[in-house]
């Protein structure tokens, strides 16, 4: 899905996506509860205006663009995609998934452990497995260093290491 979006780098698709966002937003705006005090519709008027303007902008974009041409260009782009482009996409996907996992374990593993693992993996993705020594040094110093600065020196709370509570 993400791949398709990137390759279809054209106004037609942008228009369609815009239209979809506008409709979903508009629908949820329409379904907002009525206000108990003041004008009952006050909370939703503005979101509804935003949604309608976005619908208009989306339609204009679709009309102005040539869908057929974008499909044709999409095909040609797909053929011409270089290895580098594919690698880029793989890395962006990996990073995004990793970030989500990081968020999921952050509170449970504590700052130091989760950040150390996160940095290790991301450095393997970007910097390569071969340089594991420097990767480990960077991850270790960063995770512990930041933790000490934030948590100990500045008193800004970061999740602690479970069971050790330091």
């Amino acid at each position: 899905m993400e791949k398709v979006k990137k390759k279809l780098d054209f106004n037609g698709l942008t228009g369609i996506i815009t239209l979809m966002i506008a409709l979903i937003y508009g629908l949820s705006a329409y379904m907002l509860p009525k206000a108990a005090i003041g004008n009952p519709n006050a909370p939703r008027i503005y979101p509804l205006i935003l949604a309608s303007v976005l619908v208009m902008l989306g339609i204009i974009l679709i009309i102005k663009s040539d869908i057929k041409q974008s499909i044709a260009s999409f095909e040609s782009l797909k053929k011409e995609a270089s290895d580098n482009d594919r690698l880029n996409w793989k890395m962006i996907m990996q990073t995004s998934v990793l970030c989500v996992l990081y968020a999921a374990v952050f509170d449970h593993l504590g700052y130091v452990i989760s950040t150390f693992v996160f940095l290790q993996i991301i450095l393997v993705i970007i910097n390569g497995k071969e340089k594991w020594k420097i990767n480990t040094i960077v991850s270790l110093f960063f995770s512990i260093g930041i933790y000490i600065i934030f948590s100990k020196l500045l008193g800004i709370y970061l999740p602690q290491i479970p069971y050790l509570y330091i």
């Binding site: 108990a36 005090i37 003041g38 008193g155 709370y157 069971y163 509570y165």
Partner: protein
């Protein structure tokens, strides 16, 4: 010295009881208690939480409390303060549920704790915490620009009775919260019908005071401590405050109460400490006793004076009763304006 011995003895007793109670729970508390059952509570650092951002009323209250507990040596373990803001305090309330049974979490709350539950922002209520003690109270005040035509709160109420749209009320909290509710409570008691139709205008980032100074709204509903200087310098004039007596010193002490103007109601912006739900009994006991001692210190006296707080200590039991009454009162108002959760 005698007191100190007492505390130690008590600490020993409660930690023994605590160890007994906790055996078999498998929590980390069990382990620490088991290892050194003779150690007194509290042993490790406490977790003090302000449910709002730095610089706010909650933040100031808990920071002051922690500082005094430390300065007077009433508590010797570290009490680092965390700000867990969001959801009008609801975020922290949800967080407290994940610490059920913890003996080390203490947070501060005020009327919004009840309001966010009543208006449906969160399912959780004050019953999902362990109230420890009420510490202080601030009161609401109603102020107008210096050239306003109103000279008393009754005049405002009369105007509202004829036309509920004729006086525009400003405040810093969002609709259905503190500043709004405290005004409506007075309006209701004064016999204004259709309090629902009164226009309340909510301003963000504390800018409501600038709006009243500029004369953009007619009346500001706010906290007594927030406008002291502006009253002293004559930029604003206060019509009434919501305590049942005159409070503070200087200009503040001269402000008439709502009651004195024939409207039989009071509103308190109380602040108290709340621990995690199901806090172990020994910890509850420790904190009740420690806080009771703290409010007697001269450091506490000074802090209250400096911040313009009214000392309003209530021990756990009375505090819980008070919360019940306050909850019903707020509920009545929110129901009347249709903002209570259905």
């Amino acid at each position: 010295m005698a007191i100190k011995k007492k505390i130690i003895a008590l600490g020993l007793a409660v930690s023994l009881v605590g160890a007994g109670l906790l055996t078999g729970c498998g929590s980390k508390d069990t382990q620490t208690a088991k290892e050194e059952p003779t150690e007194k509570y509290p042993k490790k650092a406490m977790e003090f939480i302000a449910p709002g951002g730095a610089g706010g009323g909650w933040d100031l209250t808990i920071r002051t409390t922690a500082k005094i507990l430390k300065d007077t040596n009433l508590v010797s373990v570290p009490m680092p303060i965390t700000n867990k803001s969001g959801g009008g305090g609801g975020i922290n309330l949800a967080y407290m549920q994940t610490k059920k049974g913890s003996d080390s979490l203490i947070s501060v709350y005020s009327p919004p704790l009840l309001l966010i539950n009543l208006n449906g922002s969160t399912e959780l209520s004050y019953k999902d915490t362990t109230p420890l003690a009420r510490l202080i109270t601030d009161y609401g005040v109603f102020v107008v620009p210096k050239d306003s035509k109103y000279t008393s709160i009754s005049e405002v109420m009369e105007a509202l009775k004829t036309d509920p749209k004729s006086v525009k009320i400003g405040g810093n909290s969002s609709a259905g919260s503190m500043d709004h509710i405290q005004f409506l409570m007075v309006a209701k008691a004064a016999g204004v019908e259709n309090i629902k139709d009164i226009d309340y205008i909510s301003f963000q980032d504390g800018t409501a005071t600038a709006q009243i100074l500029g004369g953009h709204v007619d009346l500001l509903s706010t906290g007594l401590g927030d406008v002291e200087q502006l009253l002293a310098s004559g930029e604003l004039k206060a019509l009434a405050q919501t305590a049942d007596k005159h409070v503070g010193q200087g200009v503040l002490a001269e402000i008439p109460t709502v009651k004195e103007q024939g409207i039989d109601v009071t509103f308190e912006n109380w602040r108290g400490l709340f621990a995690a739900p199901e806090m172990p009994d020994h910890a509850v006991k420790y904190w009740r006793e420690t806080l009771a001692k703290m409010v007697e210190t001269k450091e506490w006296d000074e802090a209250c004076k400096k911040n313009g707080w009214d000392k309003a200590y209530l021990d756990q039991e009375e505090f819980e009763n008070f919360l019940g009454t306050a909850n019903d009162q707020y509920k009545g108002i929110l129901e009347e304006i249709g903002m209570a959760k259905k």
